[in-house]
Symmetry: C2
């Protein structure tokens, strides 16, 4: 038995093991040698929205000094210390407000900026009925479809290799029937039907980037979404992951409700991504509000009591979901309260840039309890050490040589020449 280090905390189904055998240049095992191993990345997606960094990244790209660059850089450090994935906004109406002038350069600069920091990027969303370009209005349905297809191909293909995960289509359950003001997508969805809309989004995105991970994403977690998913699967459309939104402005649902919901969607054998998680650190939104967008308040402060509750909620939410084998991603919906959705104090960082207790609670889980920090081991008589821990990327340092290795589902055997 090689010497072993084990992360014993956290759910066992997240763990894996690697056996490292250290040899010298001649191939002889380095016995009884000190090595240092440490985790560098989680395989599990701990995501957050990266909307706040698009300007910073664009400015950095242009080498301009923004007034608030320092604050944003500080926020970026907080982001990168906990999250390994950023969701960037591709809402068509904002991405291409003027027909033919998409915001590709700025968004891809932001995506690369994250990439340089080891943070993967997900695009959100390719098809939705909200935040749509005005210039689509009044065009014939067939032309809207062609423009939508082109836009999917363009965004996915321009970003391929930089952004390889997409919410292919968003909120389809409500898409053909939601009274959402004037937009060109609702009538298209009504004319074509929900499943053809989904097939359209997945077909175009898949053709533009066969390596992409494509999600169906919805806030409607009722039987309606189950029925839709079953129809899509019967129709032979390949979904790579099921996206489940959980905006909890009206209060944390609790582990039991959340896991019962997750169990319902786990039936399909597909990875589950909790794509949009919000928990407030102030007053809760009244329970009678049906569409969260209908709750407009002048001021929605973060409070000490709210922050304590949010920290507790965040910890329970992540602990229970990381504990469910079907869940592969949790994306939180806001790093900071500044410019947060609906003005709600859902951020993990206050508007003044200081971390809330929820940030610290999540960091403790992600980077301590579920994380293998630098750990010194000694090789056995065959030059081997065994490392157990959360699945993800690791590195080993031995005699001045550094080598990466991965802990995945299957036990790995790695030979390192040092």
């Amino acid at each position: 038995m090689p010497h072993e280090t084990t992360t014993t905390t956290g759910p066992a189904h997240r763990h894996g093991a690697a056996t490292l055998t250290i040899v010298d240049a001649s191939g002889a095992p380095l016995r009884d040698t000190e090595v240092t191993v440490e985790q560098t990345r989680h395989a599990f997606t701990f995501g957050n929205i990266g909307f706040d960094f698009v300007d910073l990244a664009a400015d950095a790209d242009a080498d301009a000094a923004a007034a608030n660059a320092d604050a944003t850089a500080h926020l970026a450090d907080l982001f990168a210390d906990v999250f390994n994935t950023a969701t960037l906004p591709f809402y068509w109406g904002r991405f291409e407000p003027e027909r033919g002038a998409p915001d590709t350069r700025r968004l891809l600069a932001a995506a690369r900026w994250f990439g340089e920091r080891g943070i993967a990027v997900k695009g959100h969303p390719l098809v939705w009925h909200t935040v749509q370009p005005d210039w689509l209005l009044g065009l014939p349905t067939d032309e809207v479809e062609q423009l939508l297809r082109s836009r999917i191909r363009r965004e996915v293909s321009d970003a391929a290799g930089v952004i390889d995960t997409w919410d292919a289509i968003n909120e389809v359950v409500i898409m053909p029937v939601f009274d959402n003001g004037d937009n060109a997508i609702t009538p298209l969805a009504r004319a074509r039907g929900r499943i053809p809309m989904i097939r359209m989004a997945f077909d175009e995105a898949r053709a533009a980037n066969p390596n992409a991970t494509l999600l169906l994403n919805d806030f409607d977690l009722s039987s309606a979404y189950e029925c839709l998913i079953e129809g899509v699967l019967e129709a032979g459309v390949q979904i790579d992951a099921i996206g489940l939104q959980t905006h909890m402005h009206q209060g944390y649902w609790g582990e039991e409700t959340m896991l019962a919901m997750v169990d319902r969607f786990a039936r399909y054998g597909l990875p589950l991504h909790l794509t949009e998680t919000s928990l407030v650190s102030g007053d809760l939104m009244p329970a009678h509000i049906v569409d969260l967008n209908d709750h407009q308040v002048d001021s929605w402060p973060s409070t000490p009591e709210g922050e304590a509750r949010q920290a507790d909620d965040v910890e329970r939410h992540y602990r229970s979901l990381v504990g469910h084998p079907a869940v592969e991603a949790i994306t939180y919906w806001g790093i900071t309260d500044a410019d947060a959705w609906l003005g709600a104090p859902i951020g993990l960082v206050r508007a003044d840039g200081t971390p809330k207790p929820s940030y610290d609670a999540l960091r403790r889980l992600v980077k301590q309890e579920w994380w293998l920090g630098p750990t010194v081991l000694r090789t056995d008589e065959r030059g081997a050490v065994q490392v157990r821990g959360f699945r993800g990327d690791y590195r080993v340092d031995v005699r001045g040589t550094t080598a990466p290795f991965t802990i995945a589902d299957a036990p790995a055997r790695v030979h390192i020449v040092a």
Copy 2:
């Protein structure tokens, strides 16, 4: 222009016309001759449940004198005077409480009894997760599926020609997830998925009776049912009509809500059947009850105020739905309050056998306003009269000869030898 009689009342899209040319044995037109035309049946399905008549029909069949035969015969007259279709119960758990001993003879006797009275019969339901046989419990899933398939084939094939309309499957939206006590169908639906369950029901029923009209039927009229229907249509399963339940124990929904719902389901271009309509003539069930079955009361009387409201509700409900072109059937869920579902006063006839105002209101619509009673016309110089009216079956009497004719979508030309 032949002389004409027109039913000018009711929605024009329900009307049709037939031109009758009356000739003598030599083929010469009978000019200026008196003919009497009258309607004998509506093409539109005005249905009700026939559960109360199963025993009567079976007794009559056995030539036995039941104690309450007179009362039931009176109820049967009231039924036959308004309704042209009866729904009969084929709940598996009651139809075959002992494995291998189905209640086929009694149910088919009832179906024939209705047939002899010019009343078509519909079977309800072939597949459901409620009222299931106990003897299915504990059997392996594959065996449950085989037994279910056999039961569908058996019932549909035994009844072919007598019952040619079926609720092929009932309440699929909730089928795999509803916590409904111990039954063998919920686990089967969870294992197979909703669409395969629907395909199973339709495939087996279609194979057993290719002429049958097969319905998908649900009480969940939300987006979930739309998503399910779209998935089923994408999967290539042929649905003959979409069944929409409207049990309104908590109060009439009103024309606007009802028609907006109907419009959502009319999008699929399929006939819509309002399969289960209830309106109470007493206190309304409290609005907070979610599952109507959860409301248990010792006594739920019909009241004068309730009866006046029910009559008004019934008239508005039928008037608005007959006015919608996609609706082809409305089935009311109870002729009498005696033994009505949930003990609710939803009947159109009181428990003592006297008609409520709702019965009279509905009869007035179905047999007066929307109906062509015996009408005397004179043929023109070509021996012709034109008849306009609600689509359905008619007859003409001329010089002692009686001949049937039909008013359908396309104008008909009928030659009658008298």
